[in-house]
Amino acid sequence: MLRYIVRRLAQLVGVTVVLSMLLFFWLRSLPGGPVNAMLGERATPDQKARLEAVLGLDQPLHIQYVAYVGRILRGEFGNSSAVLPGADAMDIFLARFPATIELSLVAVTIAIIAAIPLGYIAARRHGSILDNATIVGSLVGIAVPVFFTAFLLKYWFAVKYGWLPVSGRQANLGCTRITKFFILDGLMTREFDCAASALKHLILPSIALATIPFAVIFRITRASVLDVVSEDYVRTAEAKGLTNRVIRSRHILRNAMLPVLTIIGLQVGSLLAGAILTETVFNYPGIGEALVSSFRGRDYAVLQILILMAAVVFVLVNLIVDVLYAVVDPRVRTR
């Protein structure tokens, strides 16, 4: 098991190196480039050449890349030029990431709690009105764009009725900061109004964000349970006269959850990589919102680090899922 994890971590290093290369060359192949962005359109070729020399951009790409990797290894991630001018790019990521984690975890929790029981029930009542209604519902969940759902929720519950906050992460209550996770901070410092405010700010964006994971997890659960109930071992369990509860939990769900686990991992991974649309609609200060503003401002240092870290997080989450998979499925563990 340990060897498996070490091997996967080594793979992660490989993935990161390849991705950083792709990213580096991709960004530099974009028209314009940092010099144009910094000096503007009216700069003379001479000015451009001098700045390029200062920045080392006149060197061949592979030498630039080696220098870039060297800087990264020394912990120099470059400075922001637009999102938060002058700030270290990594600091911006670290400041934004906890907000995205909070949002993603709440959204995925909502999605799982709703999708797995519904998926199971829909499968067991295959072909019933409930089954068809939930399928249509999940189709709507997939088909309706997230920003539209987000806008509707925001309009009804925040703007029109004013039940929930319109934007941001927390009201300005002068809360104590410990971990950058606002709900956790509020609970730890017993500033419960802070935790409540953070939670309130999460409700609408997390519901909007949960629609797609909900629909995906629901569908996979339903399909997987449908598969498993016709398996021979479920018939064996019935032939043993076991109670419905044991058949459901031990024989159906434990097997049906294997593909669902994979899909949950993929969903968490992509949510953590930045819920761009939802965060933008609710002006929520997470990775997705930072990604948009760094792209808009051509803030290459920040953009580079955000994309790279998103990829690392995605791979890490999937590693965790694979380890969990081995815990649940003995065929993976004892091969």
Binding site: Y233, A239, G241, L242, H251, R254, L258
Partner: protein, 352 residues
Amino acid sequence: MTTTTTERRAAVRETAPLLSVRDLTVTFQRHGEEPFRAVDGVSFDVRPGETVGLVGESGCGKSVTSLAIMRLLPKRGNKVTGTVNFEGTDLLSLSDAKMRDRRGRDIAMVFQDPLSSLNPVVPLGVQVAEVLERHRGMSRKAAMPVAAELLKRVGIPDPVRRLRDYPHQLSGGMRQRALIAIAVACAPRLLIADEPTTALDVTIQAQILALLKELVEDTGTALIMITHDLGVVAGLCDEVNVLYGGRIVERGDRHPLFRDPRHPYTNGLLASIPRLDAAGERLTPIPGSVADNLPWDHACAFAPRCSQPIEICTQVTPQLEVADGRALRCHNPVTSGWSGPSAGQTEGDVAR
């Protein structure tokens, strides 16, 4: 030897049946399709300690019969009529909860494919112990040593260590032994084995059959053996029911049936088994497949494939008629008998 067997059979015949299936009919009804009778008025008895074979080729209704008895057919898309009387109770009219209490305790089942019939993500020990927990009210802790004992009894070496193993870590034969251990865990009075050796190697088949025979003889459990393999029947069954097209076409005690098959279908089944003592002789397969069947309503379903059909076979439904301990559904039975070796030899040569 034949006399003692006959005496024993006579004694068994006197006892009241443990299971009495009467007029069992299973109709599959798919939306927008013609209803299809997979089992069509099947009746037979199983007495305590008796081993009864249900024999026939794929699609003859033998597995559906067993699933109907266990009430394991899907809830929708089929209709089951008739009665399945088990020790005075009609299983078909029991509530779901009452039936659930009996399954695994009074009647247990061994399935065909041991790998797919075991849960891949649950340790073997739990899969055996859960039956004891359910029907014997044991705790997990108390059930585990009993589970190990059961695994040992069905011939699984190192049973205590095996409790923690998962099905994929066992060989095919071991898996089938484990399934048998699960089935006999609560000492059921009736065991239904649905093609228990079909998915196994020939050498393992013989071991599993020997194990079943031993368990049945030791515990006095009655056994319904469902198979397409007459070799299995020859080594194990007291009485044999030959099914064709959802109906019983011939029934008799093993020795007379093998020595003197009356139905052309039974005769054909026996003639298509390779025999060691008839080297050089060609095998005689039954031509066609079940797809050629006529509906039983106005004919004999087997007529298109029969070796000796007469005119009436395609006009009148043959009835199951009983004479001399033999039930037969045929207008033109085989008269000469099968010119094979004596029953004693048949058993040895055909059994694999």
